[in-house]
């Protein structure tokens, strides 16, 4: 079984999950939500299997390494991380809107990875700079952080539409989701930056060199740091918090993609 084939199937599974979550918002049927959850779970199972198969195949090719080393693999793992974080939190927040956001983002990322044709699917051997034990911890913590920020972004979009569209002023639940996801993501991002710095010290002889990727991860960290301090100590709430959260997510996207496409630096692999 080919891993890229399973992943393109998974793309559609996530699409249907997002679709059913969306319909459950309109029909308010517990049943539709249940169906959506089944789609998400089976998508996640397929996704995990595909990543596992890809890992095994790389060993058969004689270039064995964790599938976390190029753009395609990073998109696939990002998408997996979003679903993983969503499944962790679903016990606490039974809200179809979060499910819709999570499966939709997972679908977008996988669709771009599988169907765009611009992203090379091949398993590539590791260049010397990536041959390190830090790879797995650095990539996993960074992408789990990105996944938390993605879900917090979804929640703050809900807050923002409610407040701006004057649909409702009761946004406590959504602000709580945003806050919890951001605090989780902030911890993971900090670990991602620290493991990255420790790795950079081994590979390049310095912890921090103001490389664009490093700088933008710091900018992201500062924005979410502002969010946490403003909420916990400044007791800010509502519109400006959701704006900070959205700004933070834009910084995440720029750190992930923009830096590599627009700026040039040492972190040429994504």
């Amino acid at each position: 079984m080919n891993d890229t084939y399973i992943l393109s199937v998974t793309t559609f599974v996530y699409f249907f999950a997002a679709f059913f979550y969306l319909s459950s918002l309109f029909f308010h049927k517990r049943f539709v939500e249940r169906v959506a959850l089944i789609f998400v779970c089976s998508g996640c199972a397929l996704h995990t299997v595909a990543i596992g198969i890809r890992w095994i195949i790389s060993y058969h090719l004689g270039i064995g390494h964790a599938p976390l080393s190029n753009f395609y693999e990073s998109l696939v793992f990002f998408s997996w991380a979003i679903i993983f974080v969503f499944l962790l939190m679903i016990r606490r927040y039974k809200q179809p809107t979060i499910g819709m956001f999570a499966s939709f983002f997972a679908f977008l990322l996988l669709a771009y990875a599988s169907l765009s044709g611009q992203v090379a699917h091949e398993i590539q051997p590791l260049i010397p700079a990536l041959q390190s034990n830090w790879l797995i911890s650095h990539v996993i913590s960074s992408f789990l952080a990105y996944a938390c920020f993605t879900i917090s972004f979804g929640a703050s979009v809900v807050t923002l539409t409610r407040l701006i569209g004057r649909i409702s002023t009761d946004t406590d639940f959504w602000e709580d989701v945003t806050y919890r996801m951001i605090s989780m993501g902030f911890v993971l991002l900090t670990l991602g930056i620290i493991t990255g710095a420790a790795w950079a010290d081994r590979a390049w002889g310095r912890y921090w060199g103001w490389d664009p990727k490093e700088t933008w991860s710091l900018i992201t960290w500062l924005i979410y740091g502002t969010f946490l301090h403003a909420r916990l100590i400044g007791k800010w709430r509502g519109l400006r918090m959701s704006l900070i959260s959205i700004l933070g997510f834009l910084a995440v996207m720029f750190t992930y993609l923009g830096v590599n496409y627009i700026l040039s630096g040492m972190h040429s692999y994504l």
């Binding site: 620290i194 590979a203 002889g205 400044g234």
Partner: protein, 448 residues
């Protein structure tokens, strides 16, 4: 005077200042990624018009992250963290440091989750029951005090979890300190060594001068492996440390596997084909019939015998399109455009006419140089302490919750009144849920 100091202290220790610094640092960092850093002046003059150039120059934007004002921002951040954390520690120790006689038993009014019950039982009977109840809820014994208006119980768990965030904030101070020390006393430099060569000269990054080590580094040999797709798989320099003419240490250095010696770190950074590589090329002047063998370096103009022409060669290629080993060659003649071709063992295999000459590649000696990055970072231990503190802080904060519960039993004319208040540093809902379940169980088991 004292008042002024207090105002400054309050200002530096405020969260508004933290947020201001965060935003300023973020904006400055963005600017630093928009304006390319550390280019040569003529590159900047071609990028910006003179007015903007001098403006950017004035504010040190071209080396923004090391400018005085960015450093001041970082120092302000350190001061801010230091003051905030000290205030925090004082608050924690005042409120939470344990002294039995200092326990505040009175039920906090501010917490919105106060509960009130009435029971027809006596105060002392209830005290026994509530002690057992608190033990099952908190997993520890409750403190008790009897006052005129009733019996007070207090229990708490995980007081130290409040120190998690203190650790995290202190870690940033350690890391910034380490960075400052590295910036002042450390250095980052590089050294290129051709196989067999030894040197003690480190060229410092961003500065013109170089630094002499009091020992030599020798590159014994350099190897590089490639994948089938042409990307390098692994490259490795075998380095020797030579002290006073004697080699005392011999280590392989690979990417991600640096050598540490006397506090210095030697990282494998790059490699290339050295200028000391040379080719032996047979040259025949077809006009005069003269034949010579030239020893030629890469990219060096070499005069051809019996003429005013020159030949230069490029980098060696082990197998060029099935022709075997070859080098690109350029023939430079007066009055004609440069002619470019490829020289192999068979002669000229591709490209333009070679005029009066014929060339043949006899031998090629390919020599690599290894690019080493040499760094000295005396702040490293502090940075690692910082890393470990962050990790510990997160673990403490993640796995422990500071929970407190206050109970007051006061006698009424008939039976008694029970007041309960709880506080938890996080997972409040879960704690309150557990409280409600246990209370319900106690109700069913005991109340008639």
């Amino acid at each position: 005077m004292k008042k002024k100091l207090l105002i400054i202290y309050r200002c530096f220790g405020s969260v508004q200042f933290t947020i201001f610094l965060f935003i300023t640092l973020a904006l400055a960092s963005i600017l630093g990624t928009i304006v390319p850093q550390d280019l040569s002046p003529d590159k900047y003059t071609s990028l910006y018009n003179p007015d903007i150039y001098s403006l950017l120059q004035y504010f040190h934007i071209f080396d923004l992250y090391h400018s005085w004002w960015f450093t001041i921002l970082l120092i302000c951040l350190s001061v801010n963290i230091l003051i905030c954390t000290c205030i925090q520690i004082r608050r924690i120790s005042r409120l939470y440091m344990f002294k039995q006689e200092k326990i505040d038993y009175s039920i906090p009014v501010s917490s919105g989750n106060n509960k009130q019950f009435f029971s027809n039982k006596g105060v002392f009977e209830l005290e026994e029951k509530l002690r057992v109840f608190l033990k099952s809820l908190m997993g520890c014994d409750a403190y008790c005090i009897k006052k005129n208006d009733g019996i007070y119980l207090f229990a708490e768990r995980g007081r130290w979890s409040r120190f998690g965030m203190v650790f995290v904030h202190f870690s940033i101070l350690f890391i910034l300190c380490g960075g400052l020390i590295a910036a002042i006393w450390g250095f980052i430099g590089h050294m290129n060594l051709v196989e067999g060569q030894q040197s003690n000269r480190v060229i410092l990054n961003g500065e013109k001068d170089s630094l002499l080590l009091d020992f030599d580094v020798r590159c014994d040999d350099f190897t590089v492996d490639f994948y089938d797709n042409g990307l390098p798989k692994e490259y490795q320099s075998n380095l020797s440390i030579v002290e006073r003419g004697k080699p005392i240490l011999s280590v392989p250095v690979r990417v991600n596997h640096p050598l540490k010696y006397r506090g210095l770190k030697f990282c494998q950074a790059s490699y290339g084909i050295s200028r000391e590589s040379y080719a032996m090329i047979d040259v025949r002047n077809n006009r005069t019939g003269e034949e010579t063998t030239l020893k030629m370096g890469i990219m060096e103009k070499t005069p051809l015998p019996g003429s005013e022409s020159f030949l230069a060669i490029g980098t060696f290629n082990a197998d060029y399109q099935g022709h075997g080993p070859s080098v690109p060659g350029v023939l430079i003649e007066k009055g004609t455009p440069h002619r470019i071709f490829r020289i192999s063992h068979e002669g000229v295999v591709e490209g333009s006419e070679t005029g009066d000459f014929s060339f043949r590649l006899m031998d090629f000696k390919k020599q690599y140089y290894t690019g080493l990055r040499i760094t000295y970072n005396p702040g490293s231990p502090l940075i690692w302490i910082g890393f470990i503190l962050v990790f510990c802080g997160f673990i403490i904060n993640f796995f422990s919750v500071h929970k407190r519960i206050w109970v007051m039993i006061s006698p009424l004319n008939e039976g008694s009144e029970i007041k309960i208040a709880v506080s938890a540093s996080k997972q409040k809902e879960a704690f309150e849920e557990k409280l409600a379940i246990l209370l319900g169980r106690m109700d069913r088991g005991n109340e008639p």
